[in-house]
């Protein structure tokens, strides 16, 4: 009798152990502002989308596409692409996933203020059968697949007729959610906590992911977030500030994962505000005076790559041998040639809480420019105020960071380099007011060029022109750093866009 009891107890204990859920407690710097995946095109929203929804396709760590809800795609002609959809997938409400939902989602994306610029290229979507759709574009578009990574099918039956997108008011979609994703939202306290549980009917049964429950807490302060990890209150954090990285590395049981991102940091030299910047010699001198490797080494502790161009090596337009150059004597000579031997005084603005150590970087640049007798009046602002000033072009030099939404160089050129045009939205972040109509032509052509060879040449040509013209001052590509407990295998699920695929996350028992 006694033995039996013990055996039963042991068995019970065994099962109970199995039954205890693997919980991931994570702390990121922000949480999604809304449950509506189309309300804001932001990192927080997209991270959330990858948890509760599934994209048609997504990026792998190596820059290739991975099939998700689309199992196959093929080009029908230059303007049409066919997508075959996964069978036997259901939404968390129990509604089956079909082509209708995809058509509905893309049409809704075309209505979203944040996404419609990107989805303008799609003219219409037609349903071939329940699991096949054709996407028709207005012009040939080489980046259609990149754009389709933003399609996270929404449950049409659940949302329709109550799906308005309002940015500052409560809507059905901002409070309720039904997706096909690996997790189902169970609880949410806006700004302080979010709980998700694993979707028991998730289609991807081959995934090694074993997280049953996620508790997400946004922690804004860097030191608090790190302390939470070190004290064991959370398991997984992002970001880790550069000054803490070395210290964190030494701690047992904690791992750090760093990936190079494609976000480029740069300085604009406003040619409309300052006639000095219209002189190519001055722009070259400034480029020569800024020592990117030193900034990366000293201020960012090596957690960035010095940049001599806009496109990171993951992008098509990247030119391998275009390195940043530092030569003070040459810079001084150029300044002398241009007639500014005694230098001049300029204003500069930079954010102080937007990018990694942005304020310190700006201060370092101020010091570097003083070596060629340019006196900089630096003003740094919190991001909320900074971007207002940026839109007004309030200073002669302004700092900007840009991550390409399409993971392609042309997006950088369109927003940062193209001639500012309020109507088309091109050059919206061109605070250099640098304008070359032939670059604009190249950008437009690259947007439609289907031949990868020719497209590569077009974009490299733009990159080369920018370099030769010293149009802007590229600084560096920022790195992303996550930290987690050793047993949380984040290595394989983080990526350079910072949308961790937590559905596939494995935690050791």
């Amino acid at each position: 009798m006694k033995k039996k009891v013990i055996i039963v107890c042991c068995l019970a204990l065994l099962f109970w152990n199995k039954a205890t859920a693997t919980t991931l407690r994570m702390a990121f710097d922000a949480d999604p502002i809304s449950l509506d995946p189309h309300e804001q095109l932001s990192e927080g929203t997209l991270q959330f989308s990858h948890l509760v929804f599934d994209p048609l396709l997504r990026w792998k760590q190596n820059g290739q596409f991975e099939h998700r809800l689309a199992t196959k795609w093929e080009r029908i002609d230059n303007l049409t692409m066919r997508f075959h959809l996964r069978h036997n997938v259901t939404f968390s409400t129990g509604n089956p996933f079909t082509a209708k939902d995809v058509v509905y989602t893309i049409e809704r994306l075309k209505k979203s203020p944040d996404f419609r610029a990107m989805f303008d290229t799609i003219k219409s979507v037609s349903m071939i059968d329940d699991y096949t759709i054709d996407v028709h574009t207005t012009y040939t578009n080489p980046l259609l697949l990149n754009i389709m990574t933003y399609v996270f099918p929404m449950d049409k039956i659940f949302y329709q007729n109550q799906d308005q997108i309002i940015k500052y008011g409560e809507t059905f979609a901002s409070r309720n959610v039904s997706g096909t994703g690996p997790f189902i939202l169970t609880e949410r306290e806006l700004g302080s906590r979010m709980e998700l549980e694993r979707n028991p009917n998730y289609w991807d049964t081959t995934s090694i992911g074993n997280v049953d429950k996620i508790i997400l807490t946004p922690i804004r302060a860097d030191s608090t977030r790190l302390a939470a990890l070190l004290s064991g209150d959370v398991d997984f954090i992002f970001p880790v500030s550069p000054i803490d990285i070395e210290r964190t590395k030494k701690i047992k049981g904690i791992q750090l994962v760093t990936l190079h991102s494609t976000r480029i940091l740069l300085l604009h030299m406003n040619q409309q505000r300052r006639k000095e910047f219209q002189d190519i010699r001055v722009r070259k001198a400034i480029n020569l005076a800024v020592n990117q490797p030193l900034i990366v080494d000293k201020i960012l502790k090596g957690y960035a790559i010095p940049a001599g161009q806009l496109s990171s090596d993951r992008f098509l337009g990247h030119i391998n041998n275009l390195e940043p150059e530092y030569d003070l004597t040459k810079a001084l000579e150029l300044m002398k040639e241009a007639g500014y031997e005694k230098g001049f005084r300029i204003s500069m603005m930079a954010p102080n809480n937007r990018y990694m150590n942005d304020e310190k970087v700006a201060q370092a640049i101020t010091a570097m420019l003083s070596r060629i007798n340019i006196t900089v009046d630096l003003k740094t602002l919190p991001k909320a105020q900074y971007f207002k000033e940026f839109d007004n072009r309030s200073a002669d030099m302004m700092m900007l960071g840009w991550q390409s939404d399409t993971m392609d160089s042309n997006n950088l050129f369109e927003f940062i380099i193209a001639c500012p045009d309020a109507k088309t939205g091109m050059g919206a972040y061109n605070a250099s007011e640098y304008c070359r109509s032939y670059i604009d032509d190249d950008i437009r052509q690259a947007n439609r060029e289907m031949n990868p060879e020719r497209r590569l040449r077009l974009m490299q040509q733009i990159e080369r022109t920018l370099y030769n013209d010293a149009a802007i001052v590229p600084l560096y590509w920022q790195s992303l750093t996550w930290a987690a407990k050793d047993k949380v295998k984040i290595q394989d699920i983080v990526n350079d866009q910072n949308y961790p695929h937590i559905g596939d996350l494995f935690i050791e028992e």
């Binding site: 095109l41 500052y168 030191s223 939470a228 919190p382 105020q385």
Partner: protein, 326 residues
């Protein structure tokens, strides 16, 4: 009493109007709320449209008039981020802040009073000297350093208390989410309330000591000694009571400091209260929430100061309310 209260209400209204005007005037300086709502790649046209819909392109006085009209009806605007009435959002977070403030005030009273009294009665004692040194250090160390030190010692090294958040809460009377009645909640409360108490404590220890020493020199205390009253009675019945008068006044003023310190403490410990909400609202340019916060805090100030004046009367009956406070 009634006249006093009436005057106070009038004063409060006046103060509130000024606070609302100021909070409205600084809105423009916080940044662009629309910028926070849209992605980087959204065009100026789209942004302008949203701005128009929100009425942000209207003149200052038109906007203020709209706000004031709503405020009279108890509507302080709708938070852009929470998408709920700003006042509701703040009231929802109020319990967390009040509990934190309450616990730290309790700690201050329980620790500062005996320490101050001891330092006054036995100024030459080793312990008193040590207390004075500690309080000097406490006065000069900024609160965030105290907080970081606390986290390092108690949660990272000793693993005794959690480093952030409020822990488990339970609902009381259906309207108060309280963390005071669960073990987890109390554990979470430990570090933030201790930090806050440490920030406030030194000034009270010093104040009580100084006041008490002065009172102990006065005629009636000497008289009490000569009458042969017991030391306990003299110290705690006669001297302490009169010491508390200025302490209460300073306490009322310190309520302002307490609010400022809760903002810092809550931010560091990720305590989901009003101060944390305010910092978040500022960084998100959630202007309706910022204005509402300033008005609510202004209201709390006015109320606490009125209470302080009332308590004054209780401690010292010679203070006449009607002639006081204007």
């Amino acid at each position: 009493m009634l006249i006093f209260l009436l005057r106070r209400v009038m004063q409060a209204c006046f103060v509130m109007i000024i606070i609302s005007l100021i909070s409205f005037a600084i809105q423009d300086k916080l940044g662009d709320p629309v910028q926070q709502m849209v992605g980087m790649s959204v065009s100026q046209d789209e942004r302008n449209q949203i701005r128009n819909e929100l009425g942000l392109n209207d003149g200052f006085f038109l906007q203020y008039w709209r706000f004031a009209k709503g405020a009279i009806h108890g509507d302080l605007g709708t938070s852009y981020y929470y998408k709920e009435p700003a006042l509701d959002v703040i009231l929802e977070k109020l319990p967390a802040t009040l509990e934190l403030a309450f616990c730290s005030i309790l700690l201050v009273i329980l620790v500062a009073t005996p320490c101050g009294v001891l330092a006054a009665i036995k100024p030459k004692h080793m312990l008193s000297r040590l207390l004075m040194i500690i309080s000097s250090i406490g006065l000069s160390v900024p609160i965030f350093i105290v907080a970081i030190l606390m986290v390092y010692i108690f949660s990272i090294e000793l693993n005794m208390a959690p480093s952030f958040g409020r822990g488990q809460t339970i609902e009381i009377f259906g309207l108060w989410e309280s963390g005071l009645f669960t073990k987890d909640g109390l554990k979470h409360l430990l570090l933030p309330s201790l930090t806050l108490a440490i920030a406030l404590m030194p000034i009270f220890v010093r104040l009580i000591r100084a006041e008490m020493m002065e009172v102990l020199q006065s005629e009636y205390i000497r008289f009490a000694w000569s009458k042969g009253l017991s030391a306990r009675r003299i110290y705690f019945k006669h001297a302490l009571k009169n010491t508390m008068l200025p302490v209460i006044t300073v306490g009322g003023i310190q309520a302002g400091t307490l609010v400022a310190y809760t903002i810092l403490t809550e931010t560091i410990f990720q305590w989901p209260g009003m101060g944390f909400l305010f910092m978040d609202a500022v960084s998100r340019v959630d202007t309706p929430l910022v204005s509402a916060y300033l008005i609510v805090v202004g209201g709390i100030f006015v109320i606490t100061n009125t209470f302080v004046d009332l308590i004054y009367g209780l401690v010292n009956p010679t203070v006449r309310l009607a002639s006081h406070g204007l």
